[in-house]
Symmetry: C2
């Protein structure tokens, strides 16, 4: 049985709480948040607190709090020599105060409180400073049926960067698709199956192999026609940049794409 | 029973052939392709031909051929006054020779021969010149359990443009994620669950609401750190442009992001 104290009550902490509660091999010793109100509805199920001084002893302390308060929170912890980790993709492990043993437990997924997640599908990237704690993090990941991946700080930060491309930036392309549809009174929902299939396709084919479309085919007529159709300068710039990027990836020599006058 | 002659043997034609074959309400009168070899393996199941002169009579002729040969193929058809459609997202309906009745049957999905598709999930955008043929296209879509959407040429071309953003450009972001992982010996597969969840999320939440990450949070430290981590100038330019785009969408004032020296 692994005993855990959870710190924070945001997207990640809430999903961790659920996954830990459902595991037979994890006991949640305590749930801390600086704002008690966000966790008070759980008071019947778990020991909750908003006071660092009242933190109990546990095998592991998981700080699932905003990136920029991880360091300070680790300094404020009123104990030493225990095992303290954060859940961030980008914060350095060494930002955690060394008065405790330190590590990272980074769930590589996008969480929001409202969206249900099959937690067992979440890859967990783990990192420790003191080797003897590695197994505990691996066991913790396995206790919620996740696949643990031992990685370095540099690899974690690289993964987080890649995640920004495939998650945040991709989502912004969805947003632009939505905007484009709205200008012509088309329901964005009609694109949902295509969006799902695009994501599914690369689960068994490399993105390189999966590419299709006018840029990949170097179909200049369609590219020209589409650039004319675009109404916003910002969309035009993104269209051109990603078209050029696709051409480069697939070894197509780029001719300069002419500018069209657009509103901004 | 709707009788169909299918022209072309590429990605779309092959998926249409399978879907039509499985429908009780469609009979495939003939399958034409200029290169006989690509369809010869189907000779036991369907009447195949590589000669336009041998085309038989049918309710509808579907030209699922490359965009730039649609017009010529429609001119080459040795009959008049029959119903001829293409399957393209971007070619004008009026590119089809008016000696026949004309229309469009555009399946809004990404097809490749190798990837299985649940065809019933594919939205079909239909368009006709002569009103009396609209019902036939709607019935054809329904006969393969698809949802038909009656749209205008402008709407179809707009949808195709939006599709380029959410499909081709998104896939290029996956490709960049793959490249970034490779530089640090990380398996790209570790990002698969995130990619799937990103696509799933917007099936019940707008992309606007679904956005997270450093740009949306205006987390300047992480953005700066990530820009330093990026090795390719091209990736840096895309990172900056999409970060700015996200900020704009979410009403965050952009400060100029400084350049970092990179290989190209
Ligand atoms: N969301 C994701 O998709 C995701 C995925 C992987 C990793 N992560 C990482 O997981 C961590 C948490 O992210 P999240 O999305 O769960 O954040 P979040 O939803 O914004 O929640 C932030 C939590 O941090 C607490 N907090 C903020 N400032 C604090 C301070 N000065 N002192 C003490 N507590 C403070 C908040 O407390 P209050 O309730 O009192 O405001 C809240 O409980 C971050 O390191 C993030 O990088 C996030
Ligand atoms: N792929 C998609 O995801 C997708 C999705 C929606 C709509 N579409 C549209 O569907 C149509 C077909 O696309 P696709 O991906 O199936 O194309 P494809 O796989 O490249 O196949 C092209 C077909 O067109 C034939 N063809 C090419 N040039 C020809 C010519 N000059 N004369 C006669 N036939 C010719 C080819 O015949 P050979 O076998 O002899 O080369 C082949 O059968 C296009 O209009 C496309 O825009 C495609």
């Amino acid at each position: 049985m692994i005993s855990v104290v959870l710190l924070g009550a945001g997207n990640v902490a809430t999903h961790l709480y659920k996954a830990f509660s459902n595991s037979e091999n994890i006991s949640i010793t305590q749930w801390y948040n600086r704002t008690r109100a966000s966790i008070s509805s759980y008071a019947n199920d778990v020991d909750i607190t908003d006071s660092l001084d009242k933190l109990k002893e546990a095998d592991i302390y998981i700080m699932a709090v905003s990136d920029d308060c991880i360091e300070q929170l680790s300094i404020d912890l009123p104990f030493t020599n225990r095992f303290v980790v954060h859940t961030s993709g980008s914060v350095a492990m060494h930002d955690i105060d060394k008065k405790n043993k330190i590590g990272v437990f980074y769930p590589l997924q996008t969480f929001s409180k409202e969206a249900e997640i099959d937690f067992s599908e979440v890859p967990i990237c783990v990192e420790v400073y003191e080797k003897e704690n590695l197994q505990l993090l691996i066991d913790l990941a396995k206790a919620v049926n996740c696949k643990p991946h031992k990685i370095t700080t540099e690899q974690r930060q690289t993964l987080h960067l890649a995640a920004v491309f495939v998650n945040n930036f991709t989502n912004q392309l969805y947003r632009i698709g939505h905007e484009i549809c709205e200008t012509k009174n088309i329901e964005f929902e009609i694109l949902h199956p295509l969006i799902e299939e695009t994501a599914k396709k690369i689960q068994h084919m490399s993105p390189f192999m999966a590419q299709t479309g006018p840029a990949k085919r170097n179909d200049k007529r369609t590219i020209k026609r589409q650039l004319k159709l675009i109404e916003k300068e910002e969309h035009e710039a993104i269209y051109k940049m990603l078209t050029t990027s696709i051409k480069k990836t697939h070894g197509i020599r780029s001719t300069r794409i002419k500018s069209q006058k657009k509103e901004n």
